[in-house]
Subunit: 298 residues, 2 copies
Amino acid sequence: MINKDQIADQYKLIQDEISAALESLDGKAKFQEEIWEREGGGGGRTRIIQHGDILEKGGVNFSAVYGKLPEAIKKAFAVEEDDFFATGVSIVIHPNNPWVPIIHMNIRYFELNEELRWFGGGIDLTPHYVIEEDAQYFHQELKKVCDQFKDSFYQEFKDWADQYFFIKHRNETRGIGGIFYDKLTPSKAGISNEAIFDFSCALGRAFPKIYAELVNRNRAKEYTEEEKQWQLLRRGRYVEFNLVYDSGTKFGLETNGRIESILMSLPEQANWFYNFIPKSDSLEEKTLSLLKKGVQWV
Amino acid sequence: MINKDQIADQYKLIQDEISAALESLDGKAKFQEEIWEREGGGGGRTRIIQHGDILEKGGVNFSAVYGKLPEAIKKAFAVEEDDFFATGVSIVIHPNNPWVPIIHMNIRYFELNEELRWFGGGIDLTPHYVIEEDAQYFHQELKKVCDQFKDSFYQEFKDWADQYFFIKHRNETRGIGGIFYDKLTPSKAGISNEAIFDFSCALGRAFPKIYAELVNRNRAKEYTEEEKQWQLLRRGRYVEFNLVYDSGTKFGLETNGRIESILMSLPEQANWFYNFIPKSDSLEEKTLSLLKKGVQWV
């Protein structure tokens, strides 16, 4: 049976592969790495890339932490166990060019004991401007990964992403969704832990190819000052989602995680323009009309 | 006995006085006003000033709303009453110049019935750079207002502000505090409802004078690109506080308030620079050392 060290080792390798692929995609910027240790046990490797040719700010983080479960989390999980182990890879990329989408990926594993263990993760896309062919490509690729493991995965995890990546107070989805899953176990997934683990690795390994395609389709496009402003406004929404709703961020802030690693998900710059209303028939208006749950891209 | 309409009328007048004073202070920008109605009852006047000579973005909002209390709030307040009335004035100002501080003021009144009614509010200052004489002046002026009503108010409400305006995950206060009070009733305050109301009006009327002094002391100061960057980073912290901790923001987001009025508190632009560490003996480092609870400015 696959154990936590094997999972952490493989996730670490995936972090290496993705960092290398992103540096090569950007062609200019290099990751800067911080190795950190957690007081209660374990630690991580935070890698940040900044001021690249295309990647304005991005993070590819690996961590493997263990220790005593905080009381609040024990309550939230409704468990009696005291010890936990958690490992994962987390990525958020904010590009310079408004035509290139923001992307987020996370794969994670959590264990209390041999019976209480589960996987979570997902990939979702936040285009500043929704380009329909790109959205279709993105979802198609995610479906391909899912279909290798179970027929129902794509639709189930796509719907889950629509529910999860939702900015309630704006009545908007964060972007065009993707897939999201949490607390996945053999009994829920209908496949073994090994297969769930393989699924998470396949997602991690699909990430650089998918993002490279989306970057390369759009990186050479010119943009106006108005389009840049719209990007900064959409980044403001991203900040709102992450600080108000994102469970990973909340978990990190409440458990004294390494703040700079948790908040690497925030863009270098975000703006809030009071009461901005897009012009009729503009691309901004079209984008807003597509930021809703239940759009079938495949 | 002072009633809710008299309170709302006076608060509306205070909004007018403050808007006029801020326009005159800026000398260039004018407020734009939105009158809005709330579906469940009542409404407000949102006034936003932007791209001024000194005021980059600011809001002076008045609202008076009534209706049925949402279940979640009934639980939080531990009351059985269904009807509520709430009125208040809320201000946040983000200046262009990093030497000029961000300021926030709020005075509010909440009523369920003639027995269950209370006042809340406060003024707090968030300098990008803490200037000790300005911080002393600010607290001294607040103390003067408090001392007119009760000897213990200043220290009590100053300590409350230190507790409230705290960014737990950064282990920093939002700024240099000020005063904060909530659910103030005659039995808690030791003064009548009329006197508490007069106190809130005195605070509202002290605001323009205090802020004008702080603006005029600093508006002509030149600043470098590095100082501007630091301002943008501090604004990022302001965004973190407001989205993660501020009760008024949370209340608004959870009760379907008018989003653009609630989030007027966010700056036009905020930045997150990964792992920024101020140089030793710099003004940035000094500022950080003063962003803590319990500093006695008076």
